[in-house]
Each structure stands twice: as structure tokens, then as C-alpha cells.
Subunit: 340 residues, 4 copies
């Protein structure tokens, strides 16, 4: 018999709400007992009532200390992730946490050590691994349909510039955006990256340059198993959220194209037209958020190590640090140069 | 402010469960109060508990007579549809009913008269009108992007033969399968059909012929506004649930292709391969079931006549009768020949 | 060793020029000795000189009576086809003739009898059989990849209305346009048509109706082997020359989509755009004209019966007659009703 | 009136034959007078006779010194290109020469100086600029449809390993294969490259490594106008000749997908299948060879500077030298480091 897992959610912001809805509506074996948020207003109360949240609290400790709970889903602000992971681990709860664990490598490492010592499970929310298309590419790689991988390519372009304020606190494009792409590259290749080279530029908006960041980047990755990777990123693709993955190998090539809003083609005297690709991550990846929580549940039910786990969370940040160094020094940087 | 509608559901079989899940999880303004089913076993009780059904009853009258309810969703067996519509109408409830209203034209007509007299709303579950692709084609037609329509084409092929028992009671392929297609053709063209010609055959399995039905059919439709329509049907497309629509007109052509399971293309030494189209209607049309209930809700909230309504339900059955006659007599049949 | 064939061409109009260029430039084993045309002006002389036509004559008899010639390519006006076929056959030349042989069934029959009696080969220019896409579909049918065929669908829409004068002399749409489509349907299915039903309309331009023709038609075909066929035609598809074929069977479905002018997709803020399909038959089928002549050559070299042959030419006209009758009487017409 | 140009061809190997056939059959205003080849055997004589070559000679000087000739097409072995360009320039002939001019930068420079001094035109055979797809992308860039370019991506993968002997003499993959790709990148962006970074690997076959070359490479390009470029190459894509180009900019993204052998899709119980992409350059680029010669002709007729010209030929080799240096030293290399 499947084991029912009871969970609490810390943080009811945009991502927290998505997780709560998924737990309530799409994952029957994952039971929601409680949601904690430091800002409980009338709007949140109404939403919680309508969707069927059993209990709301301002105190995350109520969740951490509830002996009925098996699992905690952390979707609070980034600077509280490490703290709540540590507390949840000490309370012997299995943990799902939004990315990133933290922006400080040392703090991430310390947090992972506690998780390890306490013997609890930790999954980090790199949800794109659960996208139906990228997952299908991965299956083609692992089943040998493309043979030995040679080159992996990831294209990820956001539809519109984030607020400059966001850029200032996120660590920059290589930390808040590209981080998904080396997770994807690592996921597809199944090997670790040993060297990165970043070529970045400010092409979209000079304000981003003034804020100390870049808005366009290509990164070359060298993997331990010899595979070469390429990532290209832009902060602004006016046609939507461009998300593609390609793995080329000795027996073939698997290419995940963008999703489209519908399958209709309009033939006119002038052109053949199709509607655009999804606007942004909420439209494109909604199903993947449910799929990752479902997988988290099954990890707990079957005592399986989650993937992506805490180690993935750490490595992806290390890669951001190396890529940033490469950009600043305009040279390939070995990951081994990054000392935690 | 949006008006909240409180509903009861009669019938908790396959389609009933889909509607109940949609009401509970995807349509917050439509409140579920009660579900009636004549067979309540432990399995149904467990499912109802887990999904959050407030109350289960074996007595549909509890729903029909509940003064708190504004709307009733009927998903019971076909032979009870007309009865429940009539009772619900008399109880002044707005009604969503699965197709078909009945297989007997006279009984449908009588039922619609009661609905009209009682002044309640009635939507019939021709869900394909709410498919994102077919809806987009319709928008292109109404917005004039394809100009004046000349030809409408509907392809609908099921993935596998139904049980012979089903064929015997459904009225046959033109009644249980093609009925969706003239609804689709009528929806796209926005005009009524005045003549049909059916060419049917038993090509898939002689057992179907022995049961008095056909398994392959093409139908030509002549619309009142001059448009010509074509439908092609098969009971068995081994590659999945083939569902395509095309509207060709003076300024262009809108074609809704099949959905695919993912966007991945695998290039190999031998071929380029893609995963198949969705297997059947549950995979393909799941979102459309939520969309139709959402639209039903908005009809009630905004006092708008539902579409497809009872009249559509009637006409689609009339067309089945005419198409069957055309097949049997191998000649074009005017719809006006069918006397109700 | 391959046998070299020496040919003469009668008629140097649009189609004649295409055949001459193909013989000269693309089919080295087919030697051109002479071209006859009743109108030799300076422009034609210049063209012939530049392309390398060895000899021009106004007298087709020079070609028919030249003992060095093995084959004659007839591309003169339709009303001379039968005459030249008969003369060439009597002169023991193998013949390639543009479609149609004639518009009069009796005259076609009489011509084919002469061809048969003289024992020469006759290929009729239904070039679409040699289109790379439709040929690939046929290979999939004959190799069993789609299993037993159930339904064949042909879409053929011209980009723009022909001159009304042309319509008056061509015999009408079912004779000058649809004729290609039953050839295609017969080619794909590999069986003969036994019944047709035509639904035609004047939707594009009332002038066509006044000239006694239709501009829009759908036709249902019943084949001797049980397959059902569907054709849809329009005189005016503003987006180009719409040419598609589909064969659906017990093991799958082969669909030949339109060619496009290039493979480029433009992603913009508003839409995804692609350039159109080819404008008309010269753009779409140019390669097929060379392929059909190449095949004609190989038929002569290897003493193989041409396909499409004279019998195909006859049957396609018979089908036009039956389809016209069906349209006029609004009923299915058996091909056996057409007495030659 | 258009000016007729009379040309001679030096070299009747594989590429020479293609150019000769195009001149004879597809470019009527370009007249062929003579072909020179150092190896004239019976097979070549027969081919020349059948295709209509007016004269064959073993002595290239006959072509260079023929006062009737306006233009010389050089398709001899690479090590003779510079010599023949110089001689043809001194004889005041306009020149079309296959790539590369030479592998030695100094010799290229010296050759271009002579071309300049003699005032003749020189086009270099980077034929991919004339591919219908890549040309369409370029039009979208120049017409502003993608806005300001940000990123250009070129994918070029050969179907199978060349003979090891070829690799030893070609200068290696970056010289014989990637050279096309920076020409394509430069063509699309319309700006010069100022820095390259190459990551190469031997992944396909260790024999290539032993011969001192690589078989897999990705290159990042930095353009003077700020655009970033990415190239990925492999010596062996088992699924065919993978040739794609993408230009991403402020207003959109133009993507040229691979051509396919036909437009047929086969739907089966297992997969949707399409036939492969063209096998290699002869299949994919045949039309572009005719288009480049046509453009060369028009350059001479209209006194327009050819593009790609000698300077392009030089720059592309300089880029190969820089890319090779980058690979060997694993660092970004400025083009200005390469001293000719």
C-alpha cells in the first residue's frame, strides 16, 4: 500500500500558492495540514478558505514542530531557505525546497551537512527536469537512442526584463536565470561540469549594465565525461519564453522544441502564421511543478533519494560562481578553482 | 461581483468524476454541495472523501429538491438524461447535461419544451467546442481572418474498436461518434446543415457489420449558407485519437493539427521520429471539460444563453438520423425529410 | 548498356518548353532531335538556339516520319492530342502525351485501340504521380507500412481563378482540375473507382456559375476494393497551390503535407510566421516533370508498360463524366453508368 | 540589354562538373567556351560530349590566354587556386574561385593584391550564402524583422568522417569545415568577428586525434558590433547533414531549420516518422551552386562587387587560424593577434 505523506508548506507567495494548489488538487496522496506565512491578510485568508487549506499560521515553527507532519515544503523568501531547511532537518522532516538553497556557498555546504547528519531527504525545486519534453529527451539519452552524447545545447530566453531591483539582489543573470540551464545540462548529460567559459554582453538595455549585470550570455561547458555543452541566454525574447534543449550523440540527436499555445496554422495570402509560444514559466512549466511534487512524494514513499537533491542545489550555485568569474576574467574557469 | 453558483452532480461514473474534479479543483466559483449516484460503494466513498465531496446520496431527488442549489450537472446514464433534465427544469435549476439528451427525437423535443417553459438554462456537453485548438479556429473564422468560409473539414478517428455491446446500444457510429463532428462543423461554420450524404463501410472488423453498424464513414454536409463540409471517421486509428479541423475560405485556411504528447524530435540514421498523438479523449480533451463547465458557470453568472444548448443537442441527433438514412439509402438526404 | 532514345517534341508552348528543357538538361540518355510548332517566331527561335534545340520545324510530320526517332513527346493543344497519338502510333513511335488524350470518350477509345494495335507505348502526363511526396506516400502503401488502406484524401486547390474563357473550353473544373485528383486517388489506392458522388458549388465568383461551371467541389469515391476516397477542390486558395494527400489504413496513416518555399520560421512578438507554399504548379511540380520523362525513358529502355498509361488517361476522363453527372443530378453515380 | 559573359572552367573534378552543368543548363547568359583539366580520360571525354562542353583541353593557359573569355571559373585542386587567380587576374579576367584561396595567409594576401591591382572581380565559392533558407534569414535581418541582432547560432554537422588522409592535408576541421560557418555567421550579422574561443574534442573517433585533429567543436564568436555567435560542429551526424542557422534579436528570432527529403509524415502505432534530412552537401546545396554562379554573372553584368569576395576568403582563413590557436591554448583569441 502507498504511504500517505502529510505536509506543511512554509511560504504562500506565488510559488507557495502553486505548490499548495498542486498538493490539494493534483496529488491526492500528499496531504496538506498547514500553511505558514508571515503575512496573513484577508486576501490570503479568502484564497486559503476557497482552495481548502485546513489551517493558516504566521508561525513556521508550528509546522516544523508538528509531530504529525512527515514533510515540509519550503517556498519562503530565498534568505530563509537555509534556516528552514536546517530546522526542518533537525525536526526529522523530509524537505522540498525552492531553489536556491542560498547564495552563499559556505552556508549551503553547512546546511547540506545538517541534512546529511539528520538523515532526511531534500529535493530542490529545479522543476524543468520534470517538463514532459525535457524528460523525454533524457529518456532518449538514458535508453541509448542517441548513443554516446557529444554535445548538449540549452536555449533559455526570458520574455521581458525583470525589474532592475530584482537584478541587484538576485546575484545577476548567471545566478538567477542560467542556474536552471546548467541543472538542465547536467541532468541531460548525467555527468559533472569541469570547466566553463562565459561570454556575456549588455545588448538589451544599458540600465542592466549600470546595475552591474549582463542581459545576454553564451556559456560553453566542458563535462568530466568529455561532452561539450552550450547555453545561450537572453533577458528579453519578445516572442515569449524560449526554452529548448538538444542532445546530440553518436547515434542521433534529440531536440525538444518549444511548446506552442495551440496547434492551429493559419494560411493567408501573405504568410503562414501560428500563435506564439507560452509567455513565461507559469504558462510553460505549470505541469512540471505538480510533477516534481509528485516525484518528491514518491521518493518519500519508496525511500528513494530525490533528484535534484541538495548536492545539485550546491553544484548549480558553484557553477554560477565559476561562470561569473569566467565572464569577468574572459577566460575558461575550472570548477576546481572555486573553493567553498 | 461575480455570483457564486452552487451545484449538485447526478452521476459519478467516468464523466461524472471528471466534472466533480473540475468543479472542486479548477472552478472555484462553482461550489459543489452534493453528488448523487445510484451505486455508492466503498470505492466511490473513498474517492469522494479524498477529493472532498461534501455529501454523497443515492437519491437524485435530494439534489433536485435542494433549494440551495442553483445548478445541476447531469452525468448519469443516457436513458435518464431526459428525465433528470425535466425534473431539474421544473425545480427551476439551470442544467448542464452530458450528450445526448436522448436518442428519441420526440422525447428530446418534449424535454426542450419543458426547459423553455420553465425558463432555465441548458448546456449540452459537446466539449470539443472548448478545445483550445478548435476554439482558436473558430476565432479565426469569426474575426474574418479566413474570409467567407467555403469548406469545413473534420477528421475524427478513434484509437480502437469499442465493445460490440456498446455499438448495439449506442445507436451506431453515426450516433455515438459522428455526432461530435457535426456539432464541430456547425460550430465552425455558424450555420445549419440542410443536407447530408453518407458513405459508410465495414473495413476494420466484420463483427461490426454483423452487429448492424459501420466502422468507417465519410459524410458530406451542405450548409444553409452554402458552405460544404466533409467529415471522415474511423473506429480504429492505431496511432491514436486523430482529431483535426480545417476551415477554408476566401482569405485563407485555418488548420488545427493534432496535439502531440511532447515536442521532442529524435533524429536517427534511419528516420526522424516523434512520439504519438494522445491516445483517446481523456488525454486529448481533459482541459476542454473544465473549460466547458467554466463557460456554463459564466453563462449563469452573466445570464447568457449557453452554447451548445438544448437546440444543438436536438439538431445533432437529427443529423445522425438523416446521416443514417443517407447511408442506408445511398443518397443525399435533406434534413427537412426528418420529421420529429 | 542503357539504350539511348532519340525523341522529337510536338508543341513548344509552356508545357512543351518544360519538356524540352528537361530532355536537354536533365535526362542525358534522352536525345532531342527536333521540335515542331505551328507558330515559330523570333522569340521561339532565340529560345531554341540558346537552349540548344538542334532543329525547329513547323511541320509535325517531319517528326512523325523521321526514321531515326524512337519516341515522340506531344505537348501541342489538347484538340490535336488524339490525332498526333494516332499518327505517331502508326509510325511505330513510343509516345508521351500531355493530358488529356481528348475530351471525347469515343475518340479516346478509338485512339487507344490504335495504340494497342500498333504495339507502341503510351504514357500520359499525370505528373503528380512523380512528385517526391506523393510517390513516398505510395511507397508506404505498397510496402504495407499503413496496412490495408481504408480512406484516401486528396486536397487540391488552385491559387487563382482561370480566365472564364478557359473554363468554357476545358469542360469545367471536374474535367480540367479534379481529373488530376482521381488519378492521384487511383494511384495511391491501386484499385479502380466504382462510384462517385459530387457536391459542387459556386462560392468564389458568380461569373463562373454564369459560365456554367462550379468553383468549389467535394467528391466522395468508392473503390472496387472497398476503400473510400475524398477529394476537395477550390479554384482559389489565396495562400497558394494547396496540394495534399493522405492515405489512412489499418496500420497507420501517411500524410503528404504541402511543400514550403523555405524552412525559415520567424518568431515575433505577435506571431510565428513562415513563408507560403509554392504559388502554382510550375513552382511545385517542376521536378516531377523531369521525373516523369525520366520514367518514360526507362519504360522504353526496359520495355516496361508506362504508368500512367492510355488506360489511365481514359479512366480519368470517364470519372470526370461520372462526377459531372453526379453533380448535376445530386446523386451517387456508378462508373458503369457511363457508356463509352 | 543583358551582357552575355563567356567563361572557361579550370578543373573538371566533382565541383568543376557541378559548375559546368550549371553553366550549361541553368544559366543561359553565361556561355561556356572551354574546360581545362590535367587528367582527360575517356570517361571525362564522354561526359563532356554528352553534356555539351564545346572544348576540352589539358592546358589551363589556353583558357587564361583566350581573348574571347571574360570570366574564369577555378575549381582545380586547392594548391593551384592562388596561382590560377593570379594568372587570370593578370590576363584581366573576372574570377570565380572555389574556397579556399589558399591555406597560407601570406600567399592569400599577395594574391588579393594582384587581383586588386589588376582591377578584376573575384568571387569565392562560399555557396551557403545562396541557400534559399539562409538567404531568407539574412533578408529578415537586413529588413529589420528581427530588430537589432543579439545572438547568431550556426549548427553544421557532416554525416560521416572524411578519410584520415583528407584530414591530414585539409588543415583540420576548423579549416575545412568550420570555415563555412564563420562565413555564414559573418554573412548573417554583417559585421566582423573580433574574438573567438574554441572548445574542441575528439569524441567520434580516436584516429582523428592521432592524426592531430578534432572531430567535435563549439566556437564562440564576438563581433565588432557586439553580437555574440555560437557554432557547433561534428564530423559525424549519423542522421545526415545537419545545417541550421538562427539569428536572435531585439524584435524576434529567425530560425532556418533543416530541409527534409519530403513532406510526408507516417503515423504508426509506435511513432510518427519522417524521412531524414538530406545526406550531404550535394543533396542539400545543389541549388545554391547554381545561384552563386548566377549571382557571379550578375556581378559582372552590372559591375557589382561580388559577395563573398577575396576579402571574405582571406578573413575566413584568418578566423580558422585564430580558432585553431584558441583551441590549442584554451583561451579566447583576438583576431588582431593573427599577423599575416
Amino acid at each position: 500500500m502507498r504511504k500517505t505523506i502529510t505536509a506543511g508548506v512554509i511560504g504562500a507567495g506565488r510559488m507557495g500558492k502553486i505548490h499548495i494548489e498542486n498538493v490539494l488538487c493534483r496529488i491526492p496522496d500528499l496531504k496538506l495540514k498547514m500553511v505558514a506565512d508571515i503575512n496573513i491578510d484577508e486576501k490570503l485568508k479568502k484564497w486559503a478558505y476557497e482552495i481548502g487549506v485546513p489551517k493558516l499560521t504566521v508561525d513556521a515553527n508550528e509546522i516544523i514542530n508538528d509531530s504529525e507532519l512527515n514533510a515540509i515544503i519550503i517556498a519562503s523568501s530565498t534568505n530563509t531557505h537555509a534556516k528552514f531547511i536546517q530546522e526542518a532537518a533537525r525536526a526529522k522532516k523530509d524537505i522540498f525546497c525552492e531553489k536556491p538553497i542560498d547564495t552563499d556557498l559556505k552556508r549551503i555546504k553547512e546546511t547540506l551537512e545538517i541534512v546529511k547528519r539528520e538523515g532526511v531527504k531534500l529535493m530542490i525545486g529545479f522543476n524543468r527536469r520534470f517538463d514532459r519534453n525535457f524528460q523525454r529527451v533524457r529518456e532518449m539519452v538514458t535508453s541509448g537512442q542517441i548513443g554516446t552524447p557529444y554535445i548538449v545545447k540549452v536555449t533559455a530566453r526570458d520574455p521581458a526584463l525583470p525589474p532592475i531591483e530584482y537584478i541587484k539582489t538576485s546575484g545577476g543573470m548567471l545566478f538567477d536565470m542560467t542556474i536552471h540551464d546548467w541543472d538542465m545540462a547536467r541532468f541531460q548529460v548525467g555527468s559533472e561540469i569541469e570547466e566553463v567559459y562565459t561570454k556575456g554582453a549588455v545588448l538589451v538595455d544599458p540600465k542592466i549594465g549600470k546595475a552591474g549585470d549582463i542581459d545576454t550570455a553564451v556559456v560553453i561547458l566542458k563535462f568530466e565525461n568529455g561532452v561539450i555543452g552550450m547555453i545561450d541566454n537572453s533577458r528579453q525574447a519578445v516572442y515569449g519564453y524560449d526554452q529548448r534543449v538538444e542532445v546530440f550523440g553518436s547515434k542521433g540527436c534529440a531536440i525538444a522544441e518549444n511548446e506552442q499555445l495551440n496547434t492551429v496554422r493559419l494560411y493567408t495570402a501573405e504568410k503562414i502564421k501560428e500563435d506564439n509560444i507560452p509567455y513565461f514559466f507559469l504558462q510553460r512549466y505549470m505541469d512540471s511543478y505538480a510533477a516534481e511534487l509528485q516525484d518528491f512524494l514518491e521518493c518519500l514513499q519508496n525511500n528513494r533519494e530525490p533528484s535534484p537533491n541538495g548536492e545539485d542545489g550546491l553544484r548549480n550555485v558553484v557553477l554560477a560562481v565559476a561562470a561569473q568569474k569566467s565572464y569577468e576574467e574572459n577566460r575558461p574557469v575550472k570548477i576546481s578553482e572555486i573553493v567553498i
